[in-house]
Symmetry: C2
Subunit: 232 residues, 2 copies
Amino acid sequence: MIEVIAFDADDTLWHNESLFQETQARLTAILDRYAPHAEVEARLAETERRNIKLFGYGIKGFTLSMVETAIEISGRRIGAEEIHEIVMMGKAMLDAPLDLMEGVEQVLGELKRRHRLLLITKGDLLDQTNKVERSGLAGHFEAVEIVTEKDSTTYRAIFSRLGYAPEIAVMVGNSLPSDVLPMLEIGGHAVHIPYRVTAVFERHEAEIAHERFHALDSLRDLPDLLRRLHRI
Amino acid sequence: MIEVIAFDADDTLWHNESLFQETQARLTAILDRYAPHAEVEARLAETERRNIKLFGYGIKGFTLSMVETAIEISGRRIGAEEIHEIVMMGKAMLDAPLDLMEGVEQVLGELKRRHRLLLITKGDLLDQTNKVERSGLAGHFEAVEIVTEKDSTTYRAIFSRLGYAPEIAVMVGNSLPSDVLPMLEIGGHAVHIPYRVTAVFERHEAEIAHERFHALDSLRDLPDLLRRLHRI
């Protein structure tokens, strides 16, 4: 019954949020003498929210938001040396080695024998293209879709263009608002695999009870779940 | 004979490079007391070249390169206030009203009566998506393709996916290396319409003599050219 498996990328196939969290920790250390860590974190989150429409999701926008936050929270007192360090932190993020989730290659290799696999990811086109290339996973996917917003309109358009009914497809990802809810909305299936660190804007408190919804602790459990679903 | 017309976007359908040039002029003014204007321009171009693989093409990367250049050329002496101003200049670019080339809507409206129109643009996914939306031109195009690199591989993939032979297609754009040369390479036609300001990395001195190549001064001349080609 499920022929198509679509995967989110960041924090589903490889680690991503941890890189942001580590960089944010370094920012709070740099700004230590201007404001308490919690205040820096709150101001950064506020700046990111304010900038999201202009910057979108991605490392370059995050870096500019860090610079903006540092200048504002220091009352314009921060030095050029420290701002330079923040810019270099952003560049290091863009250049960071890709850290695949445990078991990803094995799971994708197994699943592609019986299913069509898609990659549907949100974010900066160049960042995401680079990451897909560096991951070495591109060959597993029939299509790689990089989109600006993961909502029901986007999913409907992708499945329609590729000629698949959402009813025979499952979306696998770490985000309830981006991966799970819009997919259920258009009649598809969804598997939620929470990431160990969850971004502020990804937190979603509601419990989901839905016949086409499943939650897993690890990507490694996905082949088993699909086998069980096919047996029903 | 030509059924498909593909357009570049930045500096072909709307002004773009002029926004970069104006912002760069403001940067040289801010850095006036640290270095002569020509040196600032040269250092910025060098920083952009060094960062292009990490940042790609787009305003966010340009803004980060401006910040980096300002810090380095000032010998780490520039103040937070001035860096803040540079970041705000970048945000103003992202938010700038879209300035369509003269006659674009009329030309597209005329051409789409007999041809399939495509938009093929390079750059930041969110920036370009926002610009296409704000342009009000999206409805003219059968497909809008936002890509990370405009080379022969990219063009071949796009035309193949859409089911058009390059031989029945023309690419219209302001850049010889991005719009014209790769299109000629894959057997298609190309129309070059130079922009009044040309980015350093777009300059290309070679003259082109090719039976499938045409040069125009203005987009307004495109319908006439296509009529002439159909009569041959």
